[in-house]
């Protein structure tokens, strides 16, 4: 049979006709399109029963009350917990995106031992047993050598059972060097000590205040508890509460304020005293409070019997609005107007702590601002500033100290806090790097770091790194890879924030004390261990008195016992609020005179002579004609933990583009330097230089270069690592001579075209 072309054609036609009449082509077309609707590689989330778990998030310093939506055993989404004090149903960006930290790729999965050079980031997984015995051996060795004081502990904040376990550990081990990371709260802590004689933490009754004076505080930029501040801000809008923001740059807070008053940076203290001048001169201050409950407002006799000028005269002498106007750049008419409005308000409140409060600032500033609150008598009063007692629910028995512990504990702290020079300070961690670098042998031999990220957060990170290089043994308890963990010899990973129990004294800045409970939302995903358990087990491994001081089986038992009767409330409600009703003014102050002291003892003779002058920033004005100021942006986390991917996604393209950070300069400043919007430039300071892009912004004082904080992470997931510049690398600490706190608000800088 010969199959010719024609037959072949017919066959083909037949096949074609048959196909059209069969379901094959049609079904295939349909199925192919359905295939594209859910590619095999497109994840399909599994459905299940939805339920919510209440917890408190520790990702931000505010401590947001959260509820986590779960579908079966997967955590899906974080929302705010209704009724949680302060944040009440809301949460900050970091905490909202917290699920990404849980499931994200930078969650440390197992104990790690450094195998590469310091900071190189090469680690090998080891077992918990091995890791624990390595640390215990190191510690034992040090102790037997009589160098127990060379143990250092760095944590983020002092309060809560976990930092207290570290503190106790250091104490029974025999070291005074338990350190916390700097924050504006350090300033308030000292000011409460010297002006009110109290060991206290600040609470601001912002919801009831009716006039807000903010000396550069980023009230809606992460200052205190972010969600609480946003709600307070909205409340002010609803009630028409005036908010005055003094700041050299139009920040979000300034834009939200009723009035933005541009001010020369660093002159805040002088401005506050200028306002005080008007208030005193026009007799607008709170007579009752000033006359009955304060000291040294008028002239007084010192110990030697010499008469000293009182606060009133000093202020009247020196800070008349014309002078203040010259220094601060704020017109004197404005100073007078604001002072009058402030003093005449029912509950006016003056706040300080720059930006989100990551650095303390000069004690003069805290003093001057707090003196304003004193002048209007708005202390421990509805709508005022409260000195809240430090959380006292942790009432563990005093540990028995052996000889080593006593001897070591009595040695002066490495950072100088609590010494004669800086008696009011409890921690001056920013001084630690210099101390280590200046010594031949590092005064810290073993450093335990938990929750803090000194290698990123401390000023002058290059120096910090150099110091850390010198520490023979660094142990990190990080649950996510951070800059400090990268420098560690050993990482003993803590559970993630959604995998564990923890008491969270929070939220920051609230005028009533609250203790929240973080609890495991999901079972730990990896081979991690609760840091509380790790510390307890380490103590047990040390044996002897140390083991006896940690009588708990595990952390959970420790926490339950510590919270005692409150545990049940916390389990049910998610938090408890210790009884606190502020004392009357006649009992409120524990200074020797039982008064609010306008001029504290340690205010210093020298300042009396010279008056308060702005804190000078580092650098010589000729090489560095501009001044760099860091600023906080609410969409960038500048604390120990960097942005989650979702939060990275919200960062504006005028702050970060690809890997380039933008610095903000006034059009005039840009013009002078020949810079245009978006160009690459080199920002240099006495501490170093970095490649940046220029954002020309009308809302900034000419001569300044503003750099966002929180970028330039050297570790973490690909979504945040190596983007932009860490501003802490470009700025160094400036020591406040009175408090020892870091008073740097900026640094001299130059910006030139790249």
């Amino acid at each position: 049979m010969k199959i010719d072309r024609r037959s072949f054609l017919s066959l083909g036609l037949g096949v074609a006709a048959g196909s059209v009449l069969s379901p094959l082509p049609w079904k295939l077309t349909d199925d192919l399109s359905i295939w594209t609707q859910t590619w095999p590689w497109t994840p399909v989330p599994k459905d299940g029963a939805v339920h919510y778990v209440h917890s408190v998030s520790t990702l931000c310093s505010g401590g947001c009350g959260i509820q986590v939506r779960k579908v079966d055993d997967r955590a899906i989404k974080i929302e705010g917990m209704e009724g949680y004090p302060g944040s009440d149903g809301k949460a900050c960006n970091q905490c909202l995106a917290g699920i990404q930290k849980l499931y994200g790729p930078d969650h440390i999965q197992t104990p790690l031992k450094r195998v590469g050079n310091r900071g190189e980031g090469r680690f090998a997984p080891i077992s918990w047993d091995e890791a624990m015995s390595m640390v215990a051996e190191q510690l034992k060795k040090l102790r037997t050598e009589g160098k127990s004081q060379t143990l250092g502990c760095v944590v983020e904040r002092e309060y809560g059972t976990i930092p207290q376990l570290f503190k106790r550990f250091a104490k029974v081990y025999g070291s005074p060097n338990f350190m916390t990371m700097p924050s504006y709260l350090d300033g308030y802590e000292q000011i409460f000590k010297i002006m009110q004689g109290e060991e206290a933490i600040p609470g601001f009754d912002l919801e009831n205040a009716d006039y807000i004076l903010s000396f550069g505080s980023g009230l809606v930029e992460g200052w205190g508890s972010a969600p609480r501040m946003f709600q307070a801000n909205s409340l002010w809008k609803e009630k028409g509460v005036p908010v005055v923001q003094f700041e050299p740059r139009l920040s979000n807070t300034a834009a939200k304020a009723t009035q933005w008053v541009p001010i020369n940076p660093g002159a805040e203290a002088i401005l506050a005293l200028g306002l005080a001048h008007v208030i005193i001169k026009e007799n607008l201050f709170h007579y009752d409070f000033v006359n009955r409950y304060s000291a040294r407002f008028e002239a007084w006799e010192d110990g030697q019997g010499t008469e000293q000028k009182g606060f009133k005269d000093r202020v009247l002498d020196r800070y008349d609005p014309r002078y203040v106007s010259r220094v601060t750049g704020v017109p004197s008419s404005q100073i007078e107007k604001i002072a009058r409005e402030f003093a005449k308000a029912e509950s006016p409140i003056a706040l300080c702590g720059r930006g989100a409060g990551h650095t303390p600032g000069a004690i003069f500033e805290f003093h001057a601002v707090h003196a304003l609150n004193g002048l209007v008598g708005n202390i421990n009063r509805k709508g005022g500033v409260w000195a809240l007692p430090k959380p006292d629910y942790i009432a563990w028995p005093e540990p028995a100290l052996d000889e080593v512990a006593k001897k070591g504990g009595d040695t002066p702290r490495v950072d100088g806090a609590g010494t004669e020079t800086y008696p009011a300070a409890s921690s001056l961690t920013h001084r630690l790097p210099a101390m280590i670098n200046d010594a031949e042998e590092s005064p810290i031999q073993v450093l335990l770091v938990h929750g803090a990220n000194p290698c990123y957060c401390l000023p002058d990170t290059e120096t910090v790194r150099a110091a850390f290089e010198k520490i023979p043994c660094i142990v990190s308890f990080a649950s996510h890879m951070d800059e400090t963990a990268l420098m560690a010899d050993l990482i003993l990973p803590d559970h993630g924030h959604l995998e564990k129990y923890q008491d969270v004294p929070a939220p920051e800045g609230l005028s009533v004390p609250v203790i929240g409970l973080a609890r495991p939302v999901v079972a730990p995903l990896y081979d991690t261990r609760h840091v509380g358990d790790t510390v307890i087990q380490l103590a047990k491994a040390m044996g002897g008195g140390m083991a006896d001081s940690f009588p708990w089986k595990n952390y959970e038992e420790c926490l339950r016992k510590t919270l005692g009767q409150h545990w049940k409330t916390m389990e049910e409600k998610g938090w408890f609020s210790p009884d606190f009703s502020g004392p009357d003014w006649n009992e409120a102050f524990e200074t020797p005179t039982r008064n609010f002291v306008f001029i504290p003892e340690r205010y210093g003779k020298d300042t009396e002579e010279a008056g308060v002058s702005p804190i000078e920033v580092e650098g010589d004005p000729i090489t560095f004609p501009m001044v760099m100021i860091p600023f906080d942006h609410v969409r960038i986390a500048a604390g120990p933990v960097g942005n989650a991917p979702f939060v990275m996604k919200t960062i504006e393209d005028t702050l970060l583009r690809d890997k380039d950070i933008f610095v903000q300069v006034h059009p005039k400043t840009a013009g002078k330097a020949g810079l245009e919007e978006g160009v690459l430039a080199v920002l240099s300071t006495p501490k170093g230089s970095a490649k940046v892009r220029v954002h020309v912004y009308d809302g900034i004082q000419p001569g300044l270069v503003a750099v966002p904080r929180g970028l330039g992470r050297g570790s973490g997931d690909e979504f945040m690592a190596d983007k932009g510049v860490n501003v802490n690398r470009l700025i160094g600490p400036v020591e406040d001579p009175v408090s020892g706190l870091n008073a740097a608000w900026g640094i001299r800088a130059n910006l030139t075209i790249a």
Partner: protein, 214 residues
């Protein structure tokens, strides 16, 4: 040249053979399309073990005893292990399937990986509450008389789309005899049009998309 060849040539010249070839081609592709293709398109999978609905139905009130609504209005679907263990802590009867269930799933506490015949694509939002609670429909209308089954049929999976054959229906041409034969969008829409449910779309004057999609 043989006689046959001659014949062929003659026929092909006269046009008889092309018709033959046309018919051959036609029938070949019809056979492929209607018979072989459906067999190739679907892969058969067995359930982890067999399940007897009739047997269980005798012991419970109704379908919702096992396939229940949660408090939040969502539908639990195929029961989880937790529900089954109430009775099946240990082996009750003497079937091999129950033994598999208890030994392989109940004792190790493993969820049974049931293959769900009516599993819709991810883009579908199907509200059981709207149909059963608000609409008063019975299960059979969509799921068929599954309650009367004594064993589970094999699960057939479309090799291209990955979806169950029950969605398109067992008839490859997509023809249905019963309401439960198919579960495509048009089948949902047919009923929605008839019952005048959410016919609020501006574009189609039929059901708005966000009624059944998510």
């Amino acid at each position: 040249m043989s006689a046959l060849e001659e014949k062929t040539k003659a026929v092909s010249d006269g046009g008889g053979f092309p018709t033959l070839f046309f018919i051959i081609g036609l029938s070949l592709s019809l056979i492929v399309g209607w018979i072989i293709f459906p067999k190739l398109l679907y892969s058969k999978k067995q359930q982890p073990f067999d399940f007897n609905h009739v047997l269980h139905n005798e012991m419970v009130e109704d379908c919702q005893s096992c396939h229940f609504f949660r408090e939040d209005g969502s539908f639990a679907g195929v029961p989880k292990l937790a529900q089954c263990v109430d009775c099946h802590m240990d082996i009750q009867g003497d079937t091999e399937d129950e033994a598999i269930f208890v030994n392989e799933y109940v004792i190790p506490g493993r969820e049974v990986p049931w293959l769900v015949y009516s599993e819709q694509p991810d883009c579908v939002f199907f509200s059981h509450a709207a149909h059963v609670k608000a609409g008063g429909m019975d299960c059979k209308t969509c799921h068929g008389p599954i309650g009367q089954s004594t064993s589970l049929k094999p699960y057939e999976e479309n090799r291209i789309t990955g979806y169950s054959r029950d969605i398109w229906g067992y008839n490859i041409a997509g023809i249905k005899k019963n309401t439960w034969d198919r579960m495509k969008m048009d089948d949902c829409s047919e009923c929605h049009v008839q019952m005048d449910v959410n016919q609020t779309s501006v574009q189609t004057e039929k059901g708005a998309c966000f009624v059944c999609h998510k």
